[in-house]
Amino acid sequence: MEKVLTRNIGVDHKPTNLQDYEANGGYRGLRKAMSELSPKDCQDMISDSNLRGRGGAGFPTGMKWSFVPADDKCTPGHKYLVCNADEMEPGTFKDRLLMECDPHQLIEGMILAAYTIGADISYIFIRGEYLVATQRLRDALQECYAAGLLGDNILGSGYSLNMYVHPSAGRYICGEETALINALEGKRANPRAKPPFPQVSGLWGRPTIVNNVETLCNIPHIIDRGADWYKTLGVGEDAGTKLFGVSGKVNNPGCWELPMGTPIREIIEEHAGGMQDGYQLKGFLPGGGSTDFLTADHLDLAMDYNVIGAAGSRMGTGTMIILDDRTCPVGMVLNLIRFFAHESCGFCTPCRDGLPWSRQVLQDIEEGRGQPEDLETLAYQVNYIGAIGNTHCALAPGAMEPLQSALKYFYDDFKQHISTGRCPYH
């Protein structure tokens, strides 16, 4: 398979500088756009490519961009492009790789995205702990300004764009795009009510697009080589390639670029080297901590958004977490719910008070104090906290996904904890 997103990433994970990047076709897409493509041409190419957002929800990127009002349809002023580099979803480790090893690819994607939507200011909102990535992005930005790839009149095209790296001060909720915008404005990161959507009224009340790192890294290649080429990369129904990852008790945990639609079995057994000796696969979260468990019965599914959705889970970030037969499913869900309860922004009651309640019930079960009626309580919580519309943002429903599916697939484990008054895995 042809590597696209990781073509500059070697085993040594050495970062590419501007010279390396350009030597391997870098900024060719940008040069093409600046000399011969209008923003509308770029918009059409991205829409035609069927690129879907890699931030977790899989929203079509071209459609998202098309909601930004044209200059003559909004009051004059700034428009913003924001890269979501917050990467805090438990079990997710793909954006770090893209930023640490090939910062220019992200920057080129951002310039092209900003050009398409007519933005004149752009931010990379990066989690505060990503110090190496932050430094490499800053170095790369300097190279770009010096080479006329950023700033005024980019490559003589008349288009101007400034780009800033903005390190976060922490908290998972900053990854939610409207909370991220509040954080960029210097406020507490509580999500905003939608509508208005950020595309119309985002940062400082101006039209704003927020895209994930990996989404933006796809853009230069689509502009350079076209939508038709891009669509041939997937082996299933979705377009392009994707970074898929596996963590847990496998022989070779890691992150690989593979075609969209790669079968789960191939990712776990070939790329991740299968389960370690003495461990069996019991289940897995296909795309981070807020996705529903799937089991060995689902190994032959393709990693495509709709396929994983139809199986009752979500592709999420595409980085899988494996539950093995020697790890307690109740303990694993407790770890996740503890995280979500801690990271609730506290704005709405079902999340602020409901998640600590779920955590308490799970902790009681895990520590041998569970009662039979606790299972009804958990089922009630899944329905109430998990319902879209009962909470202000998707954190709380996301938190319920691993719990609801654990109750479905590992019900006997829960029951055994309660009937024997102890965790059978300890």
């Binding site: 770090r96 954080a183 210097g186 406020k187 990852g245 945990p253 901590g289 995280f339 922004c345």
Partner: protein, 172 residues
């Protein structure tokens, strides 16, 4: 002296010229002063390790915010420290992949080696231990940050290598 001048001199006796210059550089990018609140907190913390009440009040005045409003921002974010921390902060990942890889036992080992639990600082002021959500290195679990450095595949040997010396020092 006008009231304004008094306030201004107040700020500059607390915050250094360098800190104020860096904060003012951030102010140039934002339409409202309060927009630089998080940057200002991070700038001051970068120089001093944490944000004291006195600094918080000075920053609030410089950004024309109430102390309470800025405190609300400061306490929201886990990487803004409102209490003193040691020379290095240990951000210990306790999320799911690291948990599967046995991070609970390693946390217990670190706590024992250093004699501190989450939220505490060693008596020699070298280390503060804090939990942190997934550090985005789950393929190299368990992981932690010690100061600015990411430490991967943490096991009991790593703990002894990094903190073994510290234990002796604390005991002395």
């Amino acid at each position: 002296m006008s009231k304004k001048q008094i306030i201004h001199s107040d700020i500059s006796t607390v915050l250094s010229t360098e800190e104020l210059a860096e904060i003012d550089a951030e102010l140039a990018h934002v339409p409202y002063k309060s927009g630089a609140a998080i940057d200002a907190l991070k700038i001051v913390q970068g120089k001093r390790g944490w944000v004291s009440d006195e600094c918080l009040r000075a920053i609030a005045r410089h950004l024309a915010m109430s102390d309470e409003e800025l405190e609300g921002v400061a306490t929201f974010y886990n990487l803004i420290y409102r209490r003193p921390v040691g020379e290095k902060v240990i951000l210990f990942c306790d999320s799911v992949s690291c948990w599967i890889s046995g991070c609970d036992d390693i946390k217990a080992n670190i706590s024992q080696s250093l004699g501190i639990d989450y939220g505490e600082t060693t008596s020699d002021n070298r280390y503060t231990l804090l939990p942190v959500p997934c550090l985005g290195a789950c393929d190299r679990a368990p992981v932690m940050m010690v100061g600015d450095d990411l430490v991967t595949h943490v096991d009991n040997k790593t703990v002894t290598a990094i903190f073994g010396q510290a234990k002796k020092r604390v005991a002395e």
